[in-house]
Symmetry: C2
Subunit: 199 residues, 2 copies
């Protein structure tokens, strides 16, 4: 037995969300139908609009429905001459929340992954190269993830930046604040020793 | 820092789904924008349509966009003269999946809960009374949840059915199949003893 066609379709389409299986989708559908028709209406509307209208910033490639995102269109951001390269808009948000950095960003929307057929052009490195050679940059900060692919991507971008005569830095890896040494893995501990600073 | 207005709105509206907080909503939004624009488009469309078109079956009160649901409009279902009363469409689906029952349903869409201001008319007991007094019913099966509210609701409906001279039964409570006696709670064990059947 199935539900009526429209309810069935709703349950199926909710399963396109990450981490949502048949049971959660059913629960979500009934929740919206029973208790939150208003919220559901807004949800349907904003999902539809976002899917059709949200594109990428012409400059940093993050998500925005305008031509330039809020950061790229902020003149104060260009003053520092710093460009931080991150893998995803979520990483950008995490760095913004930390409140330490006030330069511009470049969002790769992924990382180099030859096995999956993701090459330099797929993550916008051609555009990054143009940006680096045309602008006046004081520093490029590589904030890709500390994974194999992230490190390879960082190395690739560092080579591009060297060719353009721009200073390149990589964010520090080490023991996280509040972590206990006992539970930190060996690679991280080794990096925290090799990256030690004078006190 | 926030995202662009439309992405922000998408993340906020996803939080109306049960079990979805700010972080999961962000992850869902980025997943849809990055990897599944098609699925997102369909999701937006089906949520919007379901919210505006799905109503309740005129007869059994379950969700449907038609006047009568698939079960109520199936003439074979009326033959048995049985009516099963459940609290929610999800309960209906669970019973249908078990494949044991082939009669009609009445979906309360809730249970009696005077403290929350939910009285008999809010869960359609007025309509149930009309249904019981007008139809030819062989048996009413009470399949509300074995909770305090569910039991109270079952008792209330049993009284209505007695007034209408219809036979009333309650689904059996006891040790679930595959369960271990050691881990079954005392109330359930007591019920399984008081409800024991001859072998």
């Amino acid at each position: 037995m199935k539900f009526s066609p429209l309810v069935d379709e709703l349950i199926k389409s909710l399963q396109c969300l990450p981490g949502v299986g048949p049971r959660s989708a059913q629960r979500m559908a009934f929740h919206l139908l029973e208790r939150d028709r208003n919220g559901g209406g807004k949800l349907g509307d904003s999902v539809s609009r976002a899917m059709s209208e949200v594109g990428h910033c012409q400059q940093c490639r993050t998500f925005t429905e305008q031509e330039l995102c809020q950061i790229c269109s902020n003149p104060k951001r260009t003053e520092s001459g710093q460009l931080c390269v991150v893998e995803s808009p979520a990483d950008l948000l995490a760095i913004e929340s930390a409140g330490q950095y006030s330069g511009q960003y470049f969002v790769l929307m992924g990382h180099l992954s030859p096995l999956d057929g993701i090459g330099p052009d797929d993550i916008g490195l051609d555009r990054l190269e143009t940006t680096l050679s045309e602008g006046e940059w004081r520093e490029i900060i590589l904030a890709t993830n500390p994974t194999v692919e992230g490190e390879a991507t960082a190395q690739y971008i560092a080579d591009i930046a060297h060719d353009c005569d721009v200073k390149v830095t990589r964010i520090a890896h080490g023991v996280p604040v509040g972590g206990e040494l006992e539970y930190v893995d060996g690679t991280t501990l080794a990096l925290s020793f090799s990256g030690r600073t004078a006190v």
